[in-house]
């Protein structure tokens, strides 16, 4: 039997399938058409943007997807592929990119490529010749070479990048005063210059020497209708990777840190980002400026997440036990009310608490501390307590909910048996309820720990990390946890930016959480053995 025959035989065995045609196939075809079209668009724009990595990955992905869905070889993959694609795009790509940035010095002053830094140096250096008039200007062309024609004292001069301006006889000027007719050159209409991006780029880059003497400067145009004299004293040597300032004689050489530095230590303002190896990782631990505040931040991060989990679990469990007692009336209503803090958006609650904890206008001092002037958010220790308290308020309803559910699923027979055996309430809780409860809640506790480890919202909304640790860079404060400190270091909110260090720290945080979670999950497996 040939392949086709075998396929035909198989088809015949399947009832309800019209020969070679089914609606399911049409739907699949349409969906795959959309997927392929999307993939091709990305590939095309990646090609246009010359980002070869993205292009390569997209081609591979697209081929893979088509192979999966148009062959019969990989049935399980047909179900797994969408999930894997999302995993790749949303998790692995972000992780990979963060990893890449962590090994660079991307940040303030190092945000582009070396070519862009060179461009910037020339932009910053090129000065308008003092008192240079603005000459009416027209863009002209000769033998494929762009040039400018300008009007100087009623006479038209024209030239190109290689040929300095020279007087042109028989030229005419239009109503705007700019040359309209330049013998020997083709005049390019301004409208055409403005609407053709490629031409525009050339015109912006074009410098036409005013005379044979370079000291006189060159004509450049910024908007295509007037020319002004500019001088630049920089020279870029691409092979030696140096920029020479012909005026001062200084030679700025590219160093391995992404800056142009001269021998006397002066450097050009704009740098570019380069690979710095493990420096960011090392700096987080060794740079005296960062090490001490970051150690404090790390300790507080652990304290914050562990204490939050313990306290909210404890309180939630306590309330769950109490309100699980059938003797309590209107339990449903009370349970619903308990959920409220959890149902309210956390950032709103945090902002509300921030107002309530204000030492002068806040309701907390007024009502509970007899109007005392306790600066909850301004003192390093009180601010930590305030954060723990507010986070407890925010998260115990979650544990209340979880524990109530877990309690209700406990087998009544076991508890009954314990009762008959004469175990008191405390003994029953310690030996039966708690161990059984932990089986289902311990993994949640680990997840909660991981969540609070990165609980940016509460820190940012309640204290913004403050009060500041005296002398700490980037305004790192005593209630900052690692993730909010990373935010401060990244400079997204303002100030100086250091994306490289921020990325390195994120990776360290990721590893820490990963390791802790792995160990903890292994431990919880022992709990399951109780069952």
């Amino acid at each position: 039997m040939t392949t086709t025959e075998r396929a035909a035989a198989r088809r015949e065995r399947r009832p309800g399938t019209a020969r070679g045609f089914s609606w399911g196939f049409v739907v699949k075809l349409l969906l795959m058409g959309i997927v392929n079209a999307f993939g091709l668009t990305v590939i095309l724009s990646a090609y246009r943007a010359e980002s070869w990595v993205v292009l390569g990955i997209m081609v591979a992905l697209l081929v893979l997807v088509d192979v999966i869905y148009f062959t019969k070889r990989a049935l399980p993959l047909k179900y797994l592929a969408p999930g894997l694609a999302f995993l790749f795009v949303f998790q692995l790509f972000t992780l990979g990119y963060t990893g890449y940035v962590a090994f660079t010095n991307y940040g303030s002053g190092h945000s582009g490529s070396m070519q862009q830094a060179v461009d910037a140096a020339f932009i910053q250096d090129e000065q308008r010749v003092p008192d240079s008039p603005a000459y009416p200007l027209t863009v002209v062309e000769r033998a494929g070479e762009l040039g400018f024609a300008i009007v100087v004292d009623d006479e038209v001069r024209a030239g190109t990048a290689l040929e300095p301006l020279a007087e042109i006889d028989g030229a005419g000027t239009g109503a705007s005063g700019a040359p309209t007719e330049v013998p020997g050159f083709t005049v390019i209409e301004r409208a055409q210059v403005l609407t053709d991006p490629a031409l525009q780029e050339q015109v912006v880059a074009l410098r036409v020497p005013f005379s044979d003497d370079p000291e006189d400067g060159s004509i450049r145009t910024r908007e295509g209708s007037t020319g002004v004299l500019y001088t630049s004293s920089l020279e870029w040597d691409e092979d030696a990777r140096t920029i020479t300032d012909t005026e001062t004689g200084l030679v700025y050489a590219a160093d391995d840190r992404g800056s142009f530095v001269a021998d006397d230590g002066t450097r050009l303002a704009t740098g570019w980002y380069v690979n710095v190896g493990f420096e960011n990782f090392v700096r987080a631990f060794t740079d005296a400026k960062f090490a001490a505040p970051l150690l404090q931040v790390t300790l507080w991060t652990f304290a914050f997440s562990i204490l939050t989990v313990l306290s909210s679990f404890g309180l939630g469990l306590l309330f769950a036990l109490i309100f699980n007692d059938p003797r309590i009336r209107s339990r449903k209503l009370i349970r619903t009310l308990f959920i409220l803090p959890y149902a309210f958006p956390a950032f709103m609650s945090a902002l509300l608490w921030r107002g309530m904890l204000n030492s002068e206008f806040g309701v907390v001092n007024d009502l509970f501390f007899f109007g005392a002037d306790i600066n909850w958010l301004g003192d390093p220790i009180l601010a930590k307590l305030a954060i723990l308290w507010v986070n407890l308020w925010l998260s115990y309803p979650y544990w209340f909910l979880v524990c109530t559910g877990a309690l209700q699923s406990l087998s009544g027979e076991t508890l009954e048996a314990a009762k008959v055996d004469g175990a008191g309430p405390f003994r029953r809780f310690r030996s039966i309820i708690l161990p059984l409860l932990l089986v289902s809640t311990a993994p949640l506790a680990i997840a909660s720990f991981a969540f609070n480890f990165n609980n940016f919202t509460i820190i940012y909304m309640l204290t913004e990390g403050g009060p500041s640790i005296p002398g700490a860079p980037n305004g790192i404060g005593s209630t900052d946890i690692l993730i909010s400190a990373i935010y401060a270091i990244s400079g997204v909110a303002g100030g100086t930016a250091d994306y490289g260090l921020a990325s390195a720290l994120s990776i360290i945080v990721f590893v820490v959480i990963g390791v802790i979670s792995a160990i903890a999950f292994r431990q919880t497996r022992k709990l399951e053995e109780i069952q």
Binding site: D119, Q200, F361, D373
Partner: protein, 406 residues
């Protein structure tokens, strides 16, 4: 057989969807004709005014102008991050104190507004000048000033801090003055006028008025200011307090509980329930109080594909009185356009801010400024909260200088 058919159908389907998707952007990215597109980033307030100027420009040049609206606070970071990737705009709205950071990042181009320069207030052009080069077209100035409740303390400007406090007390206000400290964060920006009245500028200015990277608030004047903060903080009179954030500040003033406040024009709309007069900030330390003047303008991207168009739009369409008036009407700040500034000074509130700005100094735009705020704000907060002024201030200076040295 069926497989080939499937692949053929797939290719056709892909082609169709692709064609459908690309029809939209085909006429934007085309190589010639009316294809040029100018992308401008703006905040919400300026959008309608730029839109009006852009319509005239689109008609005359045949180009399309795409406005992208963003939060003002996000503009600087997004611009710095996206220009190097080629995804940035041609023009963005921005504040002058970003200039140093933008130049260091290499994302801005110089501009030449030619004769139009004479139409603008010199201070606004100076603010956008870095190393002798102009980098943006200004449109507005802003500064903080003393805002007073006329029902309590009249319209007359107090000359000194003590005089102001006395008048506030005489008026029977609950608080003579309220000043925003951004809560526990600290707000050295609002406090700067009072700081300069002690002769303690954040960075030393050279003879041309440009800021050097030498910290200017060390020594006796800086410590005098710190001592004054301490005396008026929680350990002293309590006029300054870190319990005040922006909203509380405006609420206290708007409800008549405070006679004076230091605020900018952006807060005037929060003072709807009281009649206000705006005056220059009184001197606390004997010298003239010189608050920071901020200037807003339009930056040109260094990686713009349409530099000619962008320049044309900036110089010939936005640097005109009509466009500048539309910008003023969209969000009334002090115009940088001189004739317009004179015209709107008939409004006493604007005139008050204008008078304050004439005492002021441009906020430094050097990149070093980025490192200052965190140290500076934190030290002021600690001193207001009762920390020892001299040691807190001098250790702040030491840490700041250490940080600037790298």
């Amino acid at each position: 057989m069926r497989k080939q058919l499937g692949i053929g159908a797939l290719v056709i389907a892909s082609g169709l969807v692709l064609a459908g998707c690309s029809a939209g952007d085909g006429d934007q990215s085309g190589g010639g004709g009316d294809g040029a597109e100018l992308v401008i980033w703006t905040d919400a307030e300026r959008e309608p005014a730029i839109r009006a100027a852009a319509e005239a420009f689109e008609e005359e040049s045949g180009a399309t102008v795409t406005l992208v609206q963003k939060n003002f606070e996000d503009l600087r970071n997004d611009f710095t991050a996206q220009v190097p990737t080629g995804e940035g705009p041609d023009i963005t709205v921005g504040a002058h104190d970003w200039l140093g950071a933008l130049v260091t990042a290499g994302v801005v181009d110089t501009i030449d507004i030619g004769a139009a320069a004479e139409e603008f207030e010199q201070v606004s052009l100076d603010a956008f000048t870095y190393d002798g080069q102009l980098y943006a077209l200004p449109y507005s100035l802003e500064t903080v000033a003393l805002v007073q409740n006329t029902a309590l303390v009249g319209t007359e400007a107090p000359a000194t801090w003590d005089e102001m406090i006395q008048r506030g007390i005489d008026a029977g206000a609950e608080r003579p003055v309220v000043i925003n400290t951004a809560g526990e964060t600290g707000d050295a920006y609002t406090m700067y006028g009072l700081q300069t009245s002690f002769g303690a500028p954040v960075f030393v200015q050279d003879e041309t008025g440009s800021y050097t990277n030498e910290v200017g608030m060390s020594g006796a004047p800086g410590e005098a200011f710190a001592t004054w903060l301490h005396e008026n903080g929680s350990a002293g009179t309590g006029y300054l307090s870190t319990t005040i954030d922006y909203d509380i500040n405006n609420e206290l003033f708007n409800s008549g509980q405070a006679a004076y406040t230091v605020q900018g024009p952006w807060a005037i709309s929060s003072f709807a329930d009281v009649d206000v007069a705006v005056n220059p900030i009184p001197s606390a330390g004997g010298e003239t109080a010189a608050p920071f003047v901020g200037v807003q303008g339009f930056y040109l991207s260094s990686q713009s594909d349409n530099a000619l168009l962008a320049n044309e739009f900036l110089v010939n369409y936005l640097a005109t009185e009509d466009a500048q008036r539309a910008l003023y009407e969209a969000d009334p700040r002090i115009p940088a356009f001189s004739t317009l500034a004179e015209e709107v000074a008939s409004d006493p509130v604007i005139a008050g801010f204008l008078a304050s700005s004439q005492n002021g100094v441009p906020m430094p735009s050097i990149p070093e400024m980025g490192s200052v705020w965190d140290f500076w704000n934190a030290a002021e907060t600690q001193i207001i909260n009762g920390a020892d002024p001299a040691t807190t201030w001098s250790s702040m200076i030491t840490e700041l200088e250490g940080s600037l040295a790298g």
